[in-house]
């Protein structure tokens, strides 16, 4: 009959733990897989230097993280959402509906998006126009919109090597995808003047034209990667003709397998991104729930530590890993110290 006792004790254990759940003592973070390495570097250093326990950092993508962030206020919701893009109005609204009103936005720095191919293959020098022409669903030929006819890079532009088009782009749940669409495909679309053709075809509707511009071909020449950059790398290793979209930090850790392409003649590096020369970069953020400051121990200290000079500055460990330091870091530090929430003027 001992198992009856066991069951009873197990149930009692469950009851005890349910009451113990009222006290969470470590910061809980989720969101962008691009920010994850930076957040975990900071979390580790935070755990080493402070009396607070090491924060827990989960990934899952910017949208997924912000969705969890906006679930409400309370100990069973996350304190910080990492995002590789700015929070959307729609998400702010969803947050407000769930009672998350005071959000502190913290910009930690900039991240470059690079195009890389197999180390032993052809080298590439890209422009946004070439990318748009190569992987857009429809392109303009002789003034008319037709399904993308290109199969080789040298058909797109004679200066490119004769190599079949095979692109691995981040899936739609990644924040990287949005930047890629915005700064490469849409930029290329507008530069060629195809944008006006799209606009005319869509009855002068600008939004619809933008949407049509960034629609990618679905004939297998542009493949969405929903996983992490490691998956993109594996695809390139198995198909040497592939060209993948990576974060700068990932490329810098895998320089023995990948060679990076220039964009508009600029080699991506932390320097060229900091000066703004390299065109494809985006700011990285994290969002803090102000209601949790003072409730979850160490939350404010962690946010301040994240943007401190010795961490996020140009000589800090984040910069060493591939983050491009924010020239306006001092302002961010001040905003975090004063707990300035979004929507209020500084």
């Amino acid at each position: 009959m001992s198992f009856v006792k066991l069951t009873v004790s197990a149930l009692a254990l469950g009851a005890v733990s349910a009451t113990a759940a009222a006290a969470r003592d470590q910061v809980q973070i989720a969101g962008s897989s691009t920010v994850l390495p930076y957040a975990s570097i900071v979390a580790e250093a935070f755990g080493e230097n402070f009396e607070f326990p090491t924060p827990v950092v989960e990934s899952g993508g910017s949208s997924a993280g912000l969705k969890r962030f906006c679930e409400g206020v309370g100990e069973n919701t996350i304190d910080i959402a990492n995002a590789s893009r700015k929070i959307k109005d729609k998400e702010i609204k969803a947050c407000a509906e769930a009672g998350v009103t005071d959000i502190i936005e913290v910009r930690i720095g900039y991240d470059g998006i690079v195009f890389a191919s197999d180390i032993n293959g052809n080298g590439f020098e890209f422009t946004p126009v070439q990318w748009y022409k190569a992987i857009s669903k429809q392109v303009v030929v002789d003034g008319k919109l037709v399904d993308n006819p290109y199969t080789m890079w040298n058909e797109v532009d004679a200066t490119l090597p004769a190599q079949p088009i095979q692109a691995y782009v981040p899936g739609t749940k990644h924040g990287t995808r949005e930047v890629f669409e915005d700064k490469v495909i849409l930029a290329g679309c507008e530069e060629t003047g195809d944008f006006d053709v799209y606009k005319a075809a869509n009855g002068d509707d600008k939004k619809a034209a933008e949407k049509a511009c960034i629609a990618l071909r679905t004939d297998g020449k542009a493949v969405d990667i929903d996983g992490d950059y490691t998956e993109t790398l594996a695809r390139i290793e198995s198909n040497k003709d592939g060209i993948g979209v990576f974060g700068l930090a990932f490329y810098e850790n895998n320089t023995d397998k990948l060679q990076v392409a220039t964009m508009s003649g600029v080699v991506p590096s932390t320097e060229s991104i900091a000066t703004g020369e390299y065109p494809v970069s985006r700011p990285l953020f994290f969002y803090v729930k102000k209601a949790h400051i003072g409730v979850i121990p160490g939350l404010k200290e962690f946010a301040e530590f994240f943007v401190a000079d010795e961490i996020a500055g140009p000589d800090g460990p984040l910069s060493e890993y591939g983050l491009v330091a924010d020239p306006e870091l001092a302002q961010t530090q001040e905003a975090v110290a004063n707990e300035v929430v979004m929507g209020s003027s500084m």
Binding site: Q26, L36, P37, A45, G47, T54, V56, V57, N254
Partner: protein, 454 residues
């Protein structure tokens, strides 16, 4: 003649022509024999393919993963400078704590400088570049040492630091001078220095217990990452699974098998238990997120929640195997017990259950092994991610404070950018496999020793 041919070839065998003997095979017998030989060949080929796959898998796992068990260390004498660590000089722990790990970096730079001067190395590298050979965890190691024993400040102490993952990769043959051509994390000059230090005996590659017992580390220091803390997470989850799934599963099976009436209701329950056993595990993860975290407000990332979710997943396995072993106890045992006046409950607990116990145990162990290797449900309850908490200090903390699990840790490592984590993922697989094989062997041994056949 006719009789023998019927015995040999069955009633449908054609009548032999005059002059033929049994020694000479007919075309049809030949065909049948050939078919049998072919079938045997297919069988052997199938086993061969299976074995080949197993060999490839094992060779791959060990080839990729064994490297994770050894690590490169650099021995260095560090002067714990009082002017840097304790400016006031009163050895007040609060004051010493104010010096962050960044404040310890200059000590390491200095130590390298001294080393280079002692050995008369002409590397021409700046102290900072030399210190970059060490893991980023070195400063933290130094700080922990000083905080544990502040009296050492002012002395020179010999430390064994982890080397950077690139240096480690160089020792393991993963990194070469060609492969680092574009790598900004290490330069050829630094590798020259490593060569000199190897010759001198400062750089050594030895067994690394921290991989088996340590905690996870961030993306910047793969060399410091270990699987120990997530192993504890797995252990606590298994304790929860065992404490809940075994009693609940056994009670449910005994009732269904021995007491419940056979009607449409028990039929439905039975069908559903079998169905539950086939439900994909991620479904249990979603259920766990909705019920345990969002409704019951249990903490995220806690092994308790992981254990509860895995309990749900393991229950059907345990119930099915328990019922099968209860069924295999012959009815004569029950009849005899009832015949001498035992109540039904006495018959079950005194006679049937002890005889079924080996089968129940085997089923439970196999269920646990399955739960141990499960990742999918843990994704949804926050047990996958960077969870570098230190080892929990007690049962309550073990159940409630955030932790990962072995398979989740392996998944996490496989995703990270630095190639050194890839090696650790394979190393983690070796440890996980050792656990699984041990558990399954235990199940086989228990069955062999205690199982009775009637």
């Amino acid at each position: 003649m006719t009789d023998t041919s019927q015995q040999g070839g069955g009633p449908a065998a054609p009548a032999r022509k005059h002059g033929e003997t049994l020694m000479k095979l007919t075309a049809r017998t030949k065909r049948r024999n050939a078919a049998e030989r072919r079938f045997q060949a297919y069988g052997i080929a199938a086993i061969g393919v299976g074995l080949l796959m197993l060999v490839i898998l094992v060779v791959n796992i060990f080839g990729n993963g064994m490297g994770a068990f050894t690590q490169t260390f650099i021995t260095l004498d560090v002067h714990l400078d009082q002017s840097k660590l304790d400016k006031k000089g009163n050895r007040d722990l609060e004051d010493i704590k104010k010096v962050s790990t960044f404040g310890y970096a200059p000590l390491i730079n200095r130590a390298f400088e001294t080393k280079a001067a002692d050995l008369d190395l002409k590397s021409g590298l700046k102290p900072k570049a030399m210190a970059d050979l060490l893991s980023k965890s070195a400063a933290a190691q130094l700080r922990d040492y000083v905080l544990a024993d502040p009296a050492r400040i002012g002395q020179t102490v010999s430390f064994r630091f982890l080397a950077n993952s690139r240096v480690d990769g160089y020792m393991k043959g993963r990194v070469s001078r060609e492969s680092i051509a574009n790598d900004k994390n290490i330069s050829a000059a630094q590798l020259d220095l490593v060569d000199e230090l190897i010759a001198e005996g400062t750089v050594r590659r030895t067994f690394n217990p921290a991989f088996i017992f340590g905690a996870d580390a961030s993306d910047q220091r793969p060399e410091a990452a270990g699987i120990g803390v997530s192993m504890l997470g797995s252990l606590f989850m298994m304790v929860v699974v065992l404490a809940l799934a075994l009693p609940i599963g056994v009670a449910a099976s005994i009732y269904l098998e021995e007491f419940a009436a056979k009607n449409w209701l028990t039929d439905i329950i039975e069908v559903n238990i079998s169905n539950l056993a086939a439900v994909p595990s991620i479904v249990f993860g979603i259920l766990g997120l909705a019920v345990f975290i969002n409704y019951m407000h249990l903490p995220m990332s806690a092994p308790l929640v992981g254990g509860l979710v895995l309990t749900l997943m393991t229950l059907p396995t345990i119930i099915i195997s328990t019922r099968a072993s209860l069924k295999s106890v012959p009815p004569s045992i029950r009849d005899a017990a009832l015949g001498v006046g035992a109540s039904k409950m006495q018959a079950v607990f005194h006679h049937v259950l002890p005889l079924a116990a080996p089968g129940i145990l085997t089923g439970t162990i196999i269920g646990l092994a399955q739960a141990l290797g499960e990742t999918a449900p843990l994704l949804l309850i926050g047990m996958v991610g960077f969870i570098a908490s230190n080892a929990p200090d007690g049962v309550a903390a073990g159940l409630m404070s955030p932790n990962s699990a072995m398979p989740a840790q392996i998944y996490e490592w496989a995703k990270r950018a630095d190639p050194a984590f890839y090696e650790r993922a394979w190393g983690g697989i070796i440890i996980l496999l050792v656990f699984l094989i041990t558990m399954n062997t235990l199940a086989v041994i228990l069955r062999r020793r205690f199982e009775r056949r009637w």
